[in-house]
Structure formats: C-alpha cells, structure tokens
Symmetry: C2
Subunit: 342 residues, 2 copies
Amino acid sequence: MTHPGHAPTAATVADAGEHALIALIRARLPQAPPWVLVGAGDDAAVVETERNRPDVFTMDALVDGVHFDRRFTPPAAIGHRALAANLSDLAAMGAEPRLALLSLALPADLPVADLAAMVDGLLALAALHQVHLVGGNITRTPGPLIVDITAIGSIHRRRILTRSGARPGDEVWVSGTVGAAAAGLSWLAAGGGAEGGVLAEAVSAYLRPQPRLRLGVLLGRNRAATSCVDLSDGLADGLTQLASASGVGINVDADALPIPRAVHDWVAGRGGDPVQAALSGGDDYELLFTASPRRRGRLRGVIRLLNGLPVTKIGVVTDGGGVGLRRDGALCAVSGGYEHFS
Amino acid sequence: MTHPGHAPTAATVADAGEHALIALIRARLPQAPPWVLVGAGDDAAVVETERNRPDVFTMDALVDGVHFDRRFTPPAAIGHRALAANLSDLAAMGAEPRLALLSLALPADLPVADLAAMVDGLLALAALHQVHLVGGNITRTPGPLIVDITAIGSIHRRRILTRSGARPGDEVWVSGTVGAAAAGLSWLAAGGGAEGGVLAEAVSAYLRPQPRLRLGVLLGRNRAATSCVDLSDGLADGLTQLASASGVGINVDADALPIPRAVHDWVAGRGGDPVQAALSGGDDYELLFTASPRRRGRLRGVIRLLNGLPVTKIGVVTDGGGVGLRRDGALCAVSGGYEHFS
C-alpha cells in the first residue's frame, strides 16, 4: 500500500524494521560459491578453508562524521569505501580476499534507499574482487551511521608481507599517487560536487579508492618486497608505522612524491603546501613498501604485470630511527600522521 | 607527569589518543599460540586453519543505549557480554571458537580505566574458552559506545548444526533458564544494583551470560540435535526463526518453560506475566534445539556430559506453520520476538 506524498524511497530504516532490512540485504547477494557451506541467514557462516593456505583477517570501521560525511558522500561510495579500506589491509599482507562480514549501526532516519545503495556499492566492489558476503549484523543506533567490516583472505605462508622486514639500504616505494584522496575530500567538503571539476580524479580517488590487491599478491608471490603497509591513515603515518615496526629509519625525497599535478596546483593555489598535504592527508589506499636494491629485477617483473599502475621510488631505509623528509637540500623530521581518533 | 586532582584513571580516551589505546589493549593480550603466524599490530592477522575443518564466522555488535546501558552495566560486563553474544552464535552452530577481532567505537568522554576494564572482561571470557584476540580496530565516535566483535571458530563439516533441520515430531529443548536475563536487566534499570538481591542469579545471567559452547559441540558431535539456534533475541524470536528456517511449526508448553522461581515471583509480584516476559525478553544466551525422539538416547548421553547444566523439553515440532503456546488448555499464537531495531 502506498500513501500519497510518501514515496517508498522516503521510508526510513526505522519504518522497515530489522528483519525487513536483513531481507533487503540478503536479496542483493549473488549466489554463494560451493565452498560456502552455510551462508548468511543462520547463527554463523560456515566456509571451507583453502588447502594449505592460512587465513588472513582484518576489521575496519567507517563512522559518519569521522571517516566520511553523509552530507557529501553518496551512499554507494560509503559502501565501496568501507570494503575498500578492509581489502587494502589484506593487500598490504599480500593476501587474496575471499569473504566479508558486514556490521551496520543505522540511525533511525537513514532512508532505506540509501541503505540499499550503500549495500550495492559494497557488493559491486566485492564482485570485482570475488569477495563473498557471508554474514554480519544490523542494529539501530542513536548515534551516527557506522559501517564495520571484517574481511577474510588467504595467503601462502611463505608469501606473507609484514611491516617489520625493512632493512637499511632498502628502497621505499609507493603505488599510485599520494594526496589525491585528501584533496578530493576537501573539494567535496567545500561543496564542490561529486563530479570534481579540475579535481575529478582526486574526488574519484576519495569516493572510490581501488585497493591494490594485485600489487600486494605479486609483491608477496615474487618476494619482491621486504615490508609493506597500506596508506589508510596517510603517508606520514604509513612511513612511521613501517619504520617503527622494522626498527629502522626512512628518509623520503619530497621531489619524488607522486602528487598529481592537479592536486599540487589546487593545494598550492589555496596557499597550502602540497608536500605537507600529501604527507598528512589520509584515505590514500595505496601500498607503501620497501624492496632490496639487489632484488630490483624482481620488482621490475612485478611492475610489468600491473597494467599501468605507477609505482614510485620515494626514499631509502636508513639505520637511524624516525622518518626524515629531504627537501631543498635540508632533512627535516616527519612526525605522527593522521590520527582519526584525536 | 601527574597533576594534583587529576588521577590517571580520570583520563578519557580522547586524552589518550588512538595509538596509546591500541598499545593499552595489546599490552593486555596473552602470548599468541604458535598457529597465529601474525597477530595484532600489522595490517591484518595471519592464522593457520585447522586441518580438515571449515571456518565458522559470526559478527555481532552491542550498542550503548540499545543492548546495554553504561549507567548500570559495569565495563567488564560490557566486554564479557559482547564476546559472549558472538560465542553463543558459534555454539548454536556446534563450532569450537578459536579467534576474535574487536572493533571499538569510543565516545570521547569514555574513561581509559573503563576501556581497560571492558577489555579485561572480554579477555577473561576469551581465556576461559581459549579464544585469541588477533586484531581489530579502534575509532572515535560522536555517538554511543559500540563494541563490535567478529568471532571465528571451526567445525567438522559433518557436525554442523543449522536452524533448518527441524522435522515434525521432533522435540523442542532449551538449555539453562529463560527470562532471567530480562528480569536482571529490569532490576538493574530500576536501580537495584549489580549484586541483585533476590534476583542475584538473574542479574548475573544478564551481566555475565555463559555461552553454551560445550552443549553446542556435544550436540553436533553426537548428532543429537536436528536444528539449533541461540536465544540472543529471546525465546519467541528463537522459536520463530527456527520454525521459519525449517518450514515447520512449533507448539510450546507454557508450564514447561524453565523460568527460575525468583524471576517468576518477581515478575508476578510486579503485575507482569512471567511466561510472556520469558517469551519476549532478550539476552538469554541459551541454546534452543530440536531432537528426534528416536535419538533420545544420544541426547541423554550429551546431557550426562554437561556437568549439571539443565536442558528442558518445552514443546514439539508440528507440520503446521507458526509458533503456538499451549497454556491452561488453550493454544495461542506466538508472534515476533524482540527486535533490537524497532
């Protein structure tokens, strides 16, 4: 039954109720592969493991008002980004993704149509990487929308990439570009619109980050990297985490940072420092990794298989502690990173 | 450095920052077993699977103001309950738990001491069931405290319990007692205090539910049950879920329900209906299962191994649809259950 003036798309999740929302999500799921023995709908999911390959687990949550803003992030992009953040963690280990679980905390006023679009955005990225959603949870909240995801992959035990293997003399590399997502976010927050204008690529990098799963798998499989971390909390944070976990230092060359020209000009045109923005901005779901110069042939082999994804050498691993930035002949300390918490 | 009048325990999570809170949690973790190849602290955890046993996954979140209330739920109980809810889902599948991931959304004013106590409560239950915390996430939120957990277990593929195997003529059983947790919650919400007075056992059932892992494993291993579900959202919901998934009906005998005497008297003394309260109240993390009368010997064998946990026959599976309650000679329809959403 429809009421005049109340289109079905105007219904909120509070109108629909928990069971109807679960049914809405389950109806969107593609058929599960045969190795999913019990899928969504029971108390828990049961899944065959991959023979001789350990499981890889990560869990990451996006909170409205902290990691995104519903006012200028389309629902499909929220779903995409939440899964991408998790897949990026798997990529940083060299793992291949298999499964995801989705836990949603929904404010009462969230339109059902937004929920559907969010799930569709998530499932489109999942399909691209052959990830199967096997369960999760849905609850109301008096607070902001939270999308919490657990992603599960698998990996050969001798191909695991960690943060702790960097050694002095290794080269430091980063995939794709840095600073784009943060610029895209600034553009959106300033009311620039989702098309992005001169920052179209940066806005797309923010709204639809592409987890670097193929790069991670190739680095692990070819033992082409000594350590790896993803840049969810920005380049400065990634460098700090990697240096700290490996017990080494890292010096980065400011001129080498792959900041897109449009981002550089836009930040500089607003009186900002493009290098600082690239270091401190979050949401670049790129891989930061170290590689031994003696194995540069392996890395070249990996790069040839990336279908054009750029990989840029940005610095070197040192035996001192901490992260330094070499710029205009001087070396300055880089600290911290972006803490979503503070 | 300490400031007079600002004891360390008064510090909030916003004062501490994300990295310090992660360090606080990691410092509390016991040593990981050797089959955890990469534990908490990297982009993702890497864990050896159990040979010839599929993985079992569940994800469940508790939200302050929805599933508990910080004003009268001690922090350690919040952590305990969040893990118990997940372990109860694994129990309902007949799985043995192995791992957990913890995702926390923390309001800025949460005392660090409360976070520590919450994690300690969670880890105490984890240790009891040999569950290892291998990762997770921490974020601030402008909303309520949310504790989101993913629990991972394993199971022999021929011992999986689902919701869908109940057949007409099966008997319907429930473990422990029903209605206690809801009464305990009412007591706490009315300001009765965590000791519980005449409702001490009910308050304990609410604050520290014991997931029925041993019962679930034994039912699966001995093929003593045809279907199983846990009572996280109450008895009426569990009955409805089980009947619906199995395509059968269930008739329950009101007089058979294992409502504790103290709960019965307390609810009746306040003008309530103890049977309705037991049906609609949530948070009883008991197992509801069906068993064929032809295999009653198997069930008796299981019951002997439960160290005194009562298991009570409360009804029968019928070939009609829906759930009925037999009471005072009449049969009334039971609908719905407790929806945390609406």
